[in-house]
Subunit: 189 residues, 2 copies
DNA sequence: CGATTCTTTGAAAACAGTCAATCTGTGTGG
DNA sequence: CCACACAGATTGACTGTTTTCAAAGAATCG
């Protein structure tokens, strides 16, 4: 699973073997079974997770017990709860595995330290955060400006992978509609 | 207007007079009349704007000519189109003034340079980006998980200022509902 | 005051949600 | 290898919410 990470890093930045070895020395591997939690609501998030295999989701549960999926993430994506990590407050989100998965975890302290000591790592993380911010903006625009049908079409176009690996009801949750509505809307095409 | 910026900086970080003077030397002041554009769809965004006075919005216009407001920003907030700035691609958004406003602009190059040369400035910008990311996450959660009525209540609670300064139709646009729906929903309380 | 902009209201139509039932495919244990 | 259980997807009937379009009412500003 380190090879996946190595390949990712080399794709993002140029970096010396020594620096990469240093980064790697702070990474901890973790395996997750389907449905296993990486973070639970109420916990303080202390790690950044790089996914080397599998598929995860982050979501929150409302007062009615309904789940709302904020984000899916698969191989070569990062996941964590930045809010909880930065504020050191209990998280309002859950992260769990949709498939059996493998992640590398970097605790907050190590991440900060590596960002300082290894500029290439810092650049990589900052680029990732920039991309998250852009993706979030686009998602906000989409949710306020399109119909359910367009949202679904855009999702399928942007993330065809997820469509194959994620149950439909979870896609509905991600889009903010009910599974029934999604089912009907698929038929009308 | 530099005093507003100075006060903001001192609230965020500790910094020497010399460093502040350096930052200030790269800031350009700009006044905007109500309705004047700071960025137009199709332009490449080359600056970060710090607002010292007034109120602005960033929004996009869809194929039907309807506006969708992504964000409001007022005194002591930053605004720009990060996507366009990072990718050097034409922006999909407009930024314009809702009230007569004043901003300090930092071009992309100066911002990068200052972030490197003045660590406190770097920290300040990164903190701001972190907060944006968290705010975006919260907004996404809210849009997919709450009813129009809750969205409005949350907005009023979180941003009471905007409610006083922004026309209702723009709040509706921000929330992703029609002005008529917002008007009716206000009555039912 | 008159013009423009913003908000409210009404009635009909479109859309999405709810609840309960059925259908489909997969995988497991007997 | 079958039967059954289970999770996920679909369907139907009904309810409730939001949009649309058009018109009328405030409010603001030069």
């Amino acid at each position: 699973m380190f090879e996946v990470f190595r390949a990712y890093v080399l794709r993002q930045v140029t970096i010396s073997e020594t620096d990469f070895a240093l980064i790697e020395s702070f990474a901890h591997a973790k395996k997750l079974r389907k449905r296993q939690y990486l973070l639970q609501e109420g916990d303080i998030c202390r790690n950044n997770y790089f996914i080397t295999k599998g598929l995860l989701r982050s979501y929150s549960v409302d007062n009615n017990g309904d789940e709302h999926i904020i984000r899916f993430a698969m191989e070569n994506w990062w996941i964590s709860d930045r809010e909880s990590m930065l504020t050191q407050q209990p998280s309002r989100f859950n992260i769990d595995a949709i498939e059996d998965s493998e992640v590398l975890l970097f605790d907050n302290g190590s991440t900060e330290m590596l960002m300082e000591k290894v500029p290439a790592f810092g650049k990589m993380i900052r680029d990732m955060l920039n991309k998250s911010l852009i993706a979030s903006h686009n998602r906000i625009l989409e949710t306020i400006s399109t119909t359910a049908e367009e949202k679904y079409a855009n999702f399928m176009q942007r993330y065809p992978e997820f469509a194959l690996r994620v149950p439909q009801a979870m896609i509905a949750s991600y889009l903010g509609i009910t599974p029934e509505t999604l089912s009907r809307l698929r038929k009308r095409r």
